[in-house]
């Protein structure tokens, strides 16, 4: 399997955070090219590329851009979702740290395509190092006269996972409490300040310059048919060489874990794989031969999500894993809609009881019933992100859950380890983020 780098190209050899270095590898040429094109022509290239959003939902980016309401008399906004916070995800951080100008160029090209003068990058508050890098890069781009009539605002979040949900991101950006909005209206019609708004993930926007440079058709041909292009896979958990790997979509899960990742350390056994971040369905070792693209992973019953592959070895108690995952979602539930707010808390209570060995048989059924009553009934996807995986942990590892009831305690007897996978709940409480000097 070949590493194919588009968004991270040359990032290994050069310090691309420096404008000159980035320009030396052909940076900002796509911008110059795009600005000579008509905006609609750029959108056509994006449509032709069939680039699917890299934030998790995989919606074709060109189509999203073409949905933008026209002639409203209001400005059009571009928002870049850099609020990367799901357990297991760290690709956007790497892109922005190593190749900030690629994102900025992507912003400027996209802004040209959708005729927007205002770009907002909503950056995860805890990413202070990224903020500094991006701030310097933006300053350099500004000084070099690359911005044209576009203003890019770098906005730091305040520590809420929910603000990565696009409508909550918009609320937060408007200075309100970060809570999702009902849809319709969709952001393409009424987004930021009630104006047409395009929201895309960092990697999606960072891919745009390549598409403009080499053409949408070229891009559509690399990788498998419905999911072309590359994705930066964030490999974490119990592997020898965790890290970010930019691969063609359709690469094999086995190759990623064993060839690139070096397999499971210390001769332990692979127990489970979470392919796209903590919100995606857990996979089992017998699914190792799944290809990593949107459709193949979906056919395997899971989701590619944000391509955050978490490898779990045989030391992990799956009840504990489910508990930690749910604790995260309870902590991050915004509190707006009832099922998520109350359901996540109840799920945590039930899972804790199971883990402690105090649960009765009926309470395992109750847990599944509570999950079912959350699924598909919430205002945004967070409730589903919490409940969906729990159902799958139980389905795939039912025996282990059952043993917690039958044996009146955790069968690992305190020996289980979730090291390298999900952080314990006390680490969810983020330390106060240092204020950035003005």
């Amino acid at each position: 399997m070949a590493i194919r780098e588009l968004t991270l190209a040359h990032a290994g050899e050069r310090d691309l955070s420096k404008l000159a270095e980035y320009q030396a590898i052909g940076g900002y040429k796509a911008l110059a090219k795009a600005r000579k094109m008509k905006p609609e022509a750029v959108v056509e290239q994006l449509l032709a590329s069939n680039l699917r959003g890299r934030g998790g939902a995989g919606f074709p980016m060109g189509r999203k851009a073409s949905f933008l309401a026209k002639g409203t008399g209001k400005p059009t906004y571009l928002c870049v979702n850099a609020d990367e916070s799901e357990p297991g995800t760290f690709k956007d951080r790497e892109i922005m740290l190593l190749n900030p100008h690629r994102l900025i160029e992507g912003c400027l090209v996209t802004a040209h395509a959708i005729e927007s003068q205002n770009v907002f990058i909503y950056l995860r508050g805890e990413y202070l190092d990224v903020f500094e890098v991006m701030r310097r890069a933006l300053e350099d781009a500004r000084k070099a006269g690359l911005m044209g009539d576009v203003t890019i605002v770098l906005h730091r979040g305040a520590g809420a996972y929910i603000c990565g949900e696009e409508s909550a991101l918009l609320e937060s950006l408007e200075g309100k409490r970060g809570q999702p909005r009902p849809r319709p209206p969709f952001p393409a019609v009424s987004g930021l300040y009630g104006s047409p708004t395009l929201i895309n993930n960092v990697q999606t926007i960072a891919t745009v310059p390549v598409i403009v440079e080499k053409g949408g058709e070229w891009y559509a041909k690399i990788g498998p048919e419905p999911s072309p292009g590359t994705v930066v896979f964030s490999l974490s958990g119990n592997v020898e060489r965790p890290g970010n790997y930019e691969l063609l979509l359709g690469s094999g899960l086995r190759e990623l874990i064993y060839d690139l990742g070096g397999g499971i350390p210390d001769g332990r056994e692979l127990k489970a794989i979470i392919p796209g971040g903590s919100s995606t369905t857990v996979m089992t070792p017998d699914q190792l031969d799944t290809d990593l693209d949107f459709n193949s992973v979906a056919e395997a019953g899971s989701q590619l999500g944000a391509a955050a592959v978490i490898v779990i070895d045989d030391r992990a108690c799956m009840v504990q894993l489910a508990l930690r995952s749910t604790q995260f979602y309870m902590h991050e539930s915004c509190g707006k809609c009832t099922p998520c707010r109350e359901g996540t808390r109840w799920m945590v209570q039930l899972l804790q009881k199971l883990e402690d060995g105090r649960a009765e048989q009926s309470e395992l059924d109750l847990l599944l019933s509570v999950c079912d009553r959350v699924l598909g009934k919430c205002l945004c996807a967070l409730g589903d992100f919490a409940a969906g995986p729990v159902v799958e942990y139980v389905r795939n590892f039912r025996d282990e859950f059952q043993r917690h009831i039958d044996e009146g305690g955790c069968p690992f007897g305190g020996e289980s380890s979730l090291e390298g996978t999900f952080a314990p709940v006390d680490q969810h409480t983020h330390a106060p983020v240092a204020e950035v000097p003005a």
Partner: protein, 720 residues
């Protein structure tokens, strides 16, 4: 609307035709299907879809949808919990989740018995609980203001209260803190919820989380009666229900009149009713006894004494009215004083001009206007103006009536020009210089509003029924005598008149004084005879509000003494004047003369607004603008003032501070910073007040609450 403009929606198999864009909850209702809701409240702006109670199945959509966030489109097929098992399961799930941490302390909860959560749980909810863990607990109750208590355990986080605070009252004081299951409602920075409309959140709360400190543990819903009436504390005339239990008013609720108040009340209207039980409330007639103060009199003796005083002063009687009398009461008093005792003088609360009848509009028209010069604020009018501003209307500060009217009438004035061009412009004005709206009517005529049905003008008078009283007083007799000097007898009708410094000044020139008041504090020291007064909650009758809308007042509780109409009737008998003690009969007489014979019974619970009528064309004020470089002083009567408010502990913290309001420009030129103590001078008299700088004032104008303005008037200077 013709059928072609309607869309067809099928709800639970029933076809219904509604205008496109109708909310799905309303569409279902039109089909006779109730979709239960908690967070949905169209008056709070766009739906938020938070509670998930309204989950429905919509054909073509895979997931259950929150009906409140959707609008009717043609061909839509909706299945509610009545016919869809999935929707029913979704609703039951929502109720189960809501109840998981709800304390279920219904037996001791004020809301119990009239609680949407209780009702919906009874109808749609699970019969049992599957929750075995300890429920979430919070400190409770938290007094978020002297009038409101917050119980966070009962709260179901529908965000109605915070949405009201943020997007209706725009006070931004109620907020949600924390996240997820730890979310709580709080006031910003834990400051008390100090805002003129705060009490509305109690009524908006669909559970017992926000309760009235006045009503807590006072009554159960099955032992109360709600009497539909009208608030008598300001000229807006909000429609209310007075909740009574065992002959006492226990609380005031709104009774949504969509053209008048949209279901909102100010805190004065909601909380001031406890003045009925004030400690110095007078229940018996009193006669002044030198040294000892007052002696209690029997009613017979009191009426005898009153008749004697009136007889002695015949021809030299002055009547000072409050503006809170009912139409019937003012008419009866007018009959007694003017028909029975010859020609006598009335000091009406303030001028009221019928000229505005030609520019009449419902208050709700303010919301739909596009251009509004506003001078002055009145409780509910302020909410309508805010709603207009949210819809994009241009709201301009217009100065005081005298100067503003002349300026806008000038053809060269830019704002005046826009007003002439607009089809939906509304003037909102008040102030003593407005000649009761006559100047404003002249301006409206000058601006060409007569031919524009959506353009109009409102004059905000000081008193709740000034217009009705003026008409009734005029209808009582044709004679009008000269002002007597000295005054033989001053008859003071009502508490506002008794508290008015101008009326007190009249009393200095009067030989004898009869005071009709609710509170002893207002009668002490100057009344020779005191006749107990009643409140608007204790009378039957009618009021005319600032729109010119005739509204029905109903007696909610029996007053501790006979009401005014009863003893006026008795007293009138002694002067051979026939006046009925019954409001209905008096109204019939008044109605014959001024309301086209409208029967009392048809005044209605949701009174309509009479159509515009032609009126004599008034004149624009002609006096030259005030000379000199000073600032024009606008004295205003603040919402939270007056004898009733002074007697309500919960409202004390809302009373205005001794402040002078200045525009930023005027303050800047004088080097005045917010909060500084400044000296306000006029004709040698001066007052020390705190400076408050507000963008809502035009330059050249300062505002001081009448109770803090002392003798100041006209043009003043403000200096550090």
């Amino acid at each position: 609307m013709s059928a072609t403009e309607l869309v067809t929606v099928t709800v639970d198999g029933r076809e219904v035709h509604v205008p496109p864009g109708t909310g799905l909850v309303e569409t279902a209702l039109a089909a006779g299907v109730e979709i239960p809701v908690f967070c949905y409240e169209p008056r709070l702006g766009a739906a938020v879809g938070a509670c998930r109670m309204c989950l429905c199945e919509i054909e073509g959509m895979p997931k259950l949808q929150a009906a409140c966030t959707l609008t009717a489109t043609n061909g839509m097929i909706v299945r509610t919990a009545q016919t869809s098992e999935r929707a029913a399961e979704g609703q039951e799930a929502t109720l189960e989740f809501i109840l998981v941490n709800h304390p279920l302390d219904c037996p001791v909860c004020d809301k119990g018995g009239e609680c949407p959560l209780q009702d919906l749980t009874f109808r749609w909810g699970p019969g049992n609980t599957r929750m075995t863990f300890p429920k979430r607990t919070f400190e409770k109750p938290i007094p978020i203001s002297p009038a409101i208590a917050l119980d966070r355990e009962r709260c179901i986080l529908c965000y109605r209260c915070t949405r009201f605070s943020e997007s209706v009252a725009e006070d931004g004081q109620l907020v949600a803190l924390n996240r997820g299951a730890e979310s709580v409602i709080a006031t910003f920075e834990d400051e008390p919820y100090l805002a003129p409309f705060s009490g509305n959140v109690i009524e908006l709360c669909p559970v017992g989380a926000l309760t009235s400190t006045q009503y807590r543990f006072e009554a159960r819903p099955w032992e109360i009666q709600n009497v539909p009436t009208v608030c008598g504390l300001c000229p807006v005339g909000c429609n209310i229900q007075a909740t009574t239990r065992e002959g006492k008013v226990k609380r005031i609720l709104s009774r949504n009149h969509p053209e008048v108040d949209e279901g909102w009340l100010c805190d004065k209207g909601r909380f001031a009713f406890t003045h009925l039980r004030a400690r110095d409330r007078i229940a018996d007639p009193l006669r002044r006894v030198r040294r000892r103060g007052f002696d209690v009199l029997s009613w017979d003796d009191a009426l005898g004494e009153a008749a004697e005083l009136l007889m002695q002063a015949q021809g030299r009687i002055v009547t000072a009215l409050s503006g809170s009398e009912t139409v019937e009461q003012a008419y009866a008093l007018g009959r007694l004083m003017r028909a029975g005792l010859g020609a006598h003088t009335g000091v009406l609360p303030e001028e009221t001009s019928p000229a505005l009848d030609a520019f009449r509009l419902p208050l709700s028209a303010i919301r739909d206007a596009e251009l509004e010069p506003v001078a002055e604020r009145a409780p509910i009018v302020e909410l309508w103006v805010k709603a207009a501003r949210r819809q994009g209307a241009q709201v301009e500060q217009a100065g005081d009536a005298l100067e503003g009217c002349r300026r806008l009438a000038d053809k060269r004035n830019a704002l005046g020009k826009s007003l002439r061009e607009s089809e939906r412009a509304i003037l909102i004005w008040s102030g003593e210089e407005g000649a009761g709206g006559a100047h404003l009517a002249a301006l409206a005529k000058e601006l060409g509003f007569a031919g524009k049905p959506a353009s109009g003008a409102f004059h905000l008078p000081c008193t709740p029924n000034g217009r009705g009283i003026a008409d009734a007083w005029a209808a009582a007799s044709d004679d009008e005598g000269p002002n007597p000097e000295p005054i033989g007898l001053l008859f003071v009708s009502g508490d506002e008149a008794a508290a008015d410094p101008n009326v007190r000044a009249l009393a200095e020139r009067a030989e004898r004084v009869i005071v009709n008041a609710m509170f002893q504090g207002l009668a002490v020291g100057w009344a020779d005879l005191v006749l107990p007064g009643t409140s608007y909650l204790e009378r039957d009758g009618t009021y005319v509000n600032l729109e010119g809308r005739l509204q029905r007042l109903r007696r909610a509780v029996i007053p501790p003494a006979p009401d005014e109409l009863a003893w006026i009737s008795k007293l009138a008998e002694r002067f051979a004047v026939e006046v009925s003690p019954h409001a209905s009969a008096v109204f019939a007489e008044v109605s014959e003369r001024i309301y086209d014979g409208l029967p009392f019974g048809e005044v209605g619970e949701e009174a309509p607004l009479r159509t515009r009528s032609e009126a004599p064309a008034p004149q624009l004020p002609s006096e030259p603008a005030a000379e000199g470089k000073g600032l024009r002083l606008v004295r205003y009567r603040p919402l939270f003032s007056g004898p009733a408010v002074e007697r309500v502990p919960e409202l004390q913290f809302q009373r205005p501070a001794p402040e002078v309001e200045l525009s930023p420009g005027d303050a800047g030129r004088r080097g005045i910073a917010p909060g500084e103590t400044v000296t306000v001078t006029h004709n040698g008299t001066s007052l020390q007040l705190r400076a408050r700088i507000t963008k809502s004032l035009r330059e050249g104008i300062v505002r001081i609450a009448a109770e803090h303005a002392g003798e100041l008037g006209g043009t003043v200077e403000v200096a550090k």
